[in-house]
């Protein structure tokens, strides 16, 4: 099975739920477990929230979420054209946040890393950020005969 989808929406916080639900619905065709779907929902929520809060600093901008499915392999990409990240290594450290005044926990990237199989972040200051994540479904399931 091979399939893809692409979604574009403004950087409003209401769209965080919308985006994760759409990706979860798209991924459902690969028959993931409930846990796997929750992993994907949580990771997408983190990436989209980061685009809203950090990428666009709560101002308006466009967020693009796309996904492809190849068999049991889901690849999700979240793009913003916002401020970008200066120091990626620091940004990805557990508990690091550049916005403690907004009550951020600094756990977004850590959650994405833990819940997905791969994560790749490409960012350029002043240009924006792309977060690419991969989830392979059915890794933990016992093989049925």
């Amino acid at each position: 099975m091979e399939n893809y989808m692409k979604l574009e929406f403004p950087s409003k916080s209401q769209n965080e739920a919308f985006a994760r639900i759409v990706v979860a619905a798209f991924a459902a065709q690969a028959d993931p477990t409930l846990d796997e779907i929750s992993d994907v929902k949580t990771a997408v929520s983190e990436a989209v929230t980061n685009a809203v809060i950090h990428g666009y600093e709560n101002k308006s901008g466009t967020i693009v979420v796309s996904a492809t499915l190849q068999g049991k392999r889901l690849e999700v990409t979240v793009i913003d054209y916002g401020v970008g990240i200066e120091d990626l290594e620091q940004a990805r450290m557990p508990l690091y946040t550049s916005k403690p005044e907004l009550e951020r926990s600094g756990m977004g990237f850590t959650i994405m890393e833990n819940f997905m199989d791969e994560i790749d972040v490409i960012s350029e200051p002043g240009k924006g950020t792309t977060v690419k994540m991969v989830k392979i479904f059915g890794k933990k399931e016992p093989t049925e005969t």
């Binding site: 209401q14 965080e16 739920a17 929520s45 929230t49 009550e103 951020r104 756990m107 850590t110 959650i111």
Partner: protein
Amino acid sequence: MDAKFVRVGTTLIVRMVGELDHHAAEKLRTKIDAKLKREGVRDLLFDFQGVQFMDSSGLGMVLGRYKLVSAKGGKVLACGLNQRIKRIFEMAGLQKRITICRSEEDALSGA
């Protein structure tokens, strides 16, 4: 996200229903902070029984309330966490600051 507030003695209980993400957390924290200012509230208990989804914005909201409440000598408790939410709490080490209980009864009786 929907939230109901109940006061038992000096504890304010927040019964949340729905998904606790950034959008919901921003709204909820304003409501909680208004209630916390009321006379006689010392401790805060988050009941997660009705929460199916939480991401790191939920952690930030809980930690923010912990700062307010602990600064005034109160404590923050959480109950009804599903496995996933518990795992997210533990990833951030929240269990060191927040008392995690099974149910509201356990939390209120100090079990």
